[in-house]
């Protein structure tokens, strides 16, 4: 009885994202037809290119970055906090961590640990500001994190100057932090055969972070309080949860994970924070957290899908198909998945009520009148 229900429940969980993807493919097909491109051919190009070894590595690498970002957002979402500031948090964290990492030479494990620790701390502090503002002054975290993003951009531009943290990058007019030496770099992994490109070593850290997230939510008192506050703040308060402390704690934790977003790129590829360091990852994280339903496994699938779409689209230019088609697809997926999840949630709720009613009526009292 129970196990059958669980199978059905698992199927229901998958229904929403699958529906969303089908809908997205459908709408993209229409757009392609309208713009005069052959849909099947286009999708064919993307799949072919997407499954080449080199693209698969790139997909995995980008997904690692997305994963941290979405995890940071999900931590907030689980408590009904909307951390839009992951973007500013990771950029500031990566910049300062890059500067610190480039300035020192230490034995390898220590060097990496120090750099990552700085990133985590900067991210945590920057997000913690928004948490403090909300807990003490009641400022909506939506507003404050957006503004902190802007401040982070300004602060970053000021810090990334040859008078301060930056040096000129040789052979270009780019500037960046002093490159991190070999002792501070995280070696890549040869996970996929047939290509020289390596997978970021940080993919392991991402997996560990996901497991840690799951464990924190489900097995700790902090996680219980966090979920309880997210489900019903009034009930959490009555149960003795100090909501203000939870707000600050959750934002700090979210920011700490946000601090990791820039690390795969910094320690695995560029070794320096320069003007062309990737931006906007924090916003992608929001979409992926929604897609993955704030669940660590769901987010992993979401990150892979998103990254696959982004990477496999690069081939479309070659065939004179505009690759913005993928952005349409990603947008439709997010919109429809949110709707689909809500529909499934409602269906589930009433189905469960019906089931409980039936089972009780079947087993218990034949009470009349």
């Amino acid at each position: 009885m129970i196990s059958r229900f669980n199978v059905r429940s698992a199927a229901l969980t998958l229904v929403a994202p699958v529906l969303a993807i089908v809908l997205a493919v459908g709408i993209t097909t229409v757009v392609l037809l309208v713009s005069g491109d052959e849909p099947l051919e286009t999708f064919g190009y993307m799949v072919d290119y997407g499954f080449q070894p080199r693209t698969m590595v790139l997909t995995l690498n980008l997904a690692t970055t997305y994963y941290f970002s979405a995890l940071a957002v999900a931590i907030g979402f689980r408590m009904n906090l909307f951390n839009i500031g992951v973007d500013g948090q990771y950029r500031l964290a990566a910049l300062i961590a890059a500067a610190v990492g480039g300035a020192v030479t230490l034995p390898a494990p220590l060097h990496v640990t120090l750099t990552v620790l700085v990133a985590v701390l900067v991210g945590a502090c920057w997000a913690g500001l928004a948490g403090l503002l909300k807990a003490t002054r009641g400022v909506s975290e939506v507003i404050s994190t957006i503004m902190l993003n802007v401040i982070a951009t300004g602060l970053g531009a000021w810090l990334l100057h040859t008078d301060r943290l930056a040096v000129a990058v040789s052979g270009s007019n780019n500037i960046g932090t002093k490159p991190i030496g070999p002792s501070g770099q995280v070696p890549g992994l040869h996970l996929i055969a047939g290509t020289e490109v390596k997978v970021y070593g940080f993919v392991v850290v991402a997996a560990l972070a996901g497991i840690g997230f799951h464990f924190m939510l489900n097995s700790t008192r902090f996680g219980f309080d966090l979920r309880a506050t997210g489900r019903s703040e009034s009930a959490a308060v009555a149960s003795g949860v100090n909501v203000k402390k939870m707000i600050v704690g959750t934002m700090v934790l979210s920011g700490a994970v946000a601090g990791l977003v820039g690390m795969p790129q910094l320690l695995g590829a560029s070794y320096s924070y320069s003007l062309d360091f990737p931006t906007g990852l924090g916003f992608t994280g929001i979409a992926i957290a929604l897609l993955g339903r704030n669940n660590p496994l769901g987010i992993a699938f979401g990150a892979l899908l998103w990254s696959f779409l982004t990477n496999s689209a690069s081939i479309l230019d070659v065939h004179q198909i505009s690759k913005e088609i993928v952005i349409i697809m990603q947008g439709v997926i997010v919109l429809s998945v949110v709707v689909a999840y809500e529909l499934v949630r409602r269906y589930r709720k009433s189905a469960e009520q019906r089931r409980v009613g039936q089972e009780l009526a079947a087993t218990a009292e034949p009470v009349k009148g």
Binding site: F224, V237, V241, V356, Q358, L360
Partner: protein, 510 residues
């Protein structure tokens, strides 16, 4: 009844059946409401009154049965169908936008247009004035809703449905939020409405009010209509018997278990609104082990705030002592861990995580205590095992502990909460309306558990709107009015009528 001489009834429900999971469904409901009558539908909380009205208003569809409006059979797919048929509903909880004026609220969603584009405010204002004057509602279309009192807001809601052309008005527990004087004003408005040929369906469980305003009363019990009576030929007692059936559980305490040991002492407790007005005003009392202290009062006289202050949810001045320890500065969690249990007034908002399984709800409020936690970790298996124990001991009707709390009926949710709060040997239990909205069986069970815990030395603060429960279950009874304890009453020789008048401040000199 003269078959031909009487006009068609305004509303006729025949054999309505609504199967509804987990809660009381409607069965074989038959109801005839004459045009120009105030027809009251009375029944206990959870008897199915609201479901029935939702069916009539198109919010729920009946599984079987027939609805006739003015003699013609109808099928409502949504409230807009019901509105089109001339039915309007005034909900218990107002649905008004605070920062809009009365006028804007009334026309919201059915704005009159000038030449199809611009909103015709002057026409709307004129109509609102006409309606207000015709029925003596005394509503000023240009006041801001947030500046209005509860009674005025309710009249705005009534005006809203009249503006949409309703001839049949459903009022769902309209007096629950009103003070006695406002109730009188409401009844005057209702009489004005029926004089003008409208029909009013009045849902309530307050029998005295029903007897004074209704032309006919239909009693509903466990989802079905039991009888329709004429208020002139019945009494409140007779109605109460019809409402609960014959096997009415009696709230009563047997021998006294009160000891000399003070478990909870509250002294000079004062809670203020942000504007500085005291809602709880210098309240002092002591509860000893094995004693139930009842607090009687019209709702909204500071009871909720008093409870929140004792639980540490709301800041307050004064001192609170648990046994001999001053807990005034303690957090809610520390108070709970030290043995203060809490059955909250609104179980959905404060007592449960509706979309979480029962075993997680067992943890709620006891996150740091055994068997739910080991150090900083949640003890899943301990919590699950103990949830199974509560389900068993407290007779929570559920297929398992993994179902969400929202799937249970109100009575079973409440039994789970009672079981949870009784776990871990509490010293003091703050019970706000412990049997509100639960069926008779659950009510009797909850009373049994309270009695048993009291015999073991539990000190209980009982807050209730059910006067019989207060009188029957309390060792000591105090009356709260305007945030102050105005008098003490001996529960052994007070009648509900006397208590009721003491609550409204009448007889305060005694």
């Amino acid at each position: 009844m003269w078959m031909t001489a009487t006009p068609e009834p305004a509303v006729e429900l025949k054999g309505i059946v609504k199967r509804f999971p987990g809660v009381v469904a409607n069965r074989d409901v038959c109801l005839k409401v004459q045009r120009g009558h105030v027809h009251a539908v009375v029944g206990e909380n959870g008897a199915g009154k609201s479901t029935l009205m939702k069916i009539l208003y198109g919010m729920q569809r009946p599984d079987e049965g027939e609805i006739r409006i003015n003699g013609a059979p109808v099928t409502f797919r949504s409230p807009s169908d019901a509105i089109a048929a001339g039915i309007g509903m005034v909900h218990q909880h107002f649905m008004l936008a605070d920062n809009f004026t009365v006028l804007e609220n009334v026309i919201l969603g059915s704005e009159p247009r000038q030449a199809g584009t611009v909103i015709d405010f002057s026409a709307a204002r004129k109509r609102i004035r006409e309606i207000s004057d015709a029925y003596g509602l005394g509503v000023n279309p240009d006041s801001l809703v947030e500046s209005l009192g509860v009674g005025d807001r309710q009249r705005v809601e009534i005006l809203k449905v009249l503006y949409r052309g309703a001839k049949i008005l459903i009022l769902d527990e309209p007096t629950a939020v009103l003070v006695p004087q406002e109730v009188e004003e409401l009844f005057a408005s209702l009489r004005g409405l029926v004089r003008e040929g409208h029909t009013v369906l009045f849902i309530s469980h307050k029998l005295d009010e029903v007897l004074s305003v209704a032309d006919e009363i239909t009693v509903i019990r466990r989802g079905t209509t039991v009888e329709t009576v004429n208020p002139g030929q019945t009494t409140a007692r007779r109605l109460a018997e019809l409402m609960v059936g014959s096997e009415l559980p009696v709230p009563e305490l047997r021998e006294s278990t009160v000891t000399d040991v003070v478990a909870l002492a509250v002294e000079g407790l004062t809670v203020r609104t942000p504007e500085g007005r005291p809602i709880v005003d210098d309240v002092s009392f002591e509860i000893r082990k094995g004693e139930v202290l009842g607090i009687a009062g019209v709702e909204g006289n500071g009871q909720a705030e008093l409870v929140e202050a004792i639980m540490g949810i709301r800041p307050a001045a004064g001192t609170i002592r648990l046994s001999d320890t001053d807990i005034t500065g303690w957090t809610t969690r520390r108070r709970r861990v030290s043995g203060v249990g809490h059955i909250p007034e609104d179980r959905h908002r404060h007592g449960l995580l509706l979309e979480a399984p029962l075993w997680e709800n067992r943890i709620l409020g006891h996150q740091t205590e055994k068997p739910n936690a080991k150090g900083p970790w949640i003890d899943r298996s301990g919590a699950r095992k103990d949830t199974a124990r509560i389900v068993d001991e407290y007779d929570v009707r559920t297929p398992g502990i993994d179902v969400h709390a929202s799937a249970l009926s109100g009575g079973n949710q409440q039994k789970l909460i009672v079981g949870r709060e009784m776990s871990g040997d509490p010293v003091v239990l703050i019970a706000s309306h412990p049997t509100r909205g639960v069926d008779v069986g659950a009510q009797a069970a909850i009373w049994d558990h309270l009695r048993a815990a009291r015999a073991r030395g539990l000190a209980v603060l009982l807050i209730s709107a059910d006067l019989d429960e207060l009188i029957g279950m309390s060792d000591t009874l105090k009356v709260i009015c305007g945030g102050r304890i105005v008098r003490a009453v001996d529960p052994h020789n007070v009648t509900p009528e006397e208590l009721g008048s003491a609550m409204t401040g009448a007889g305060g000199e005694a």
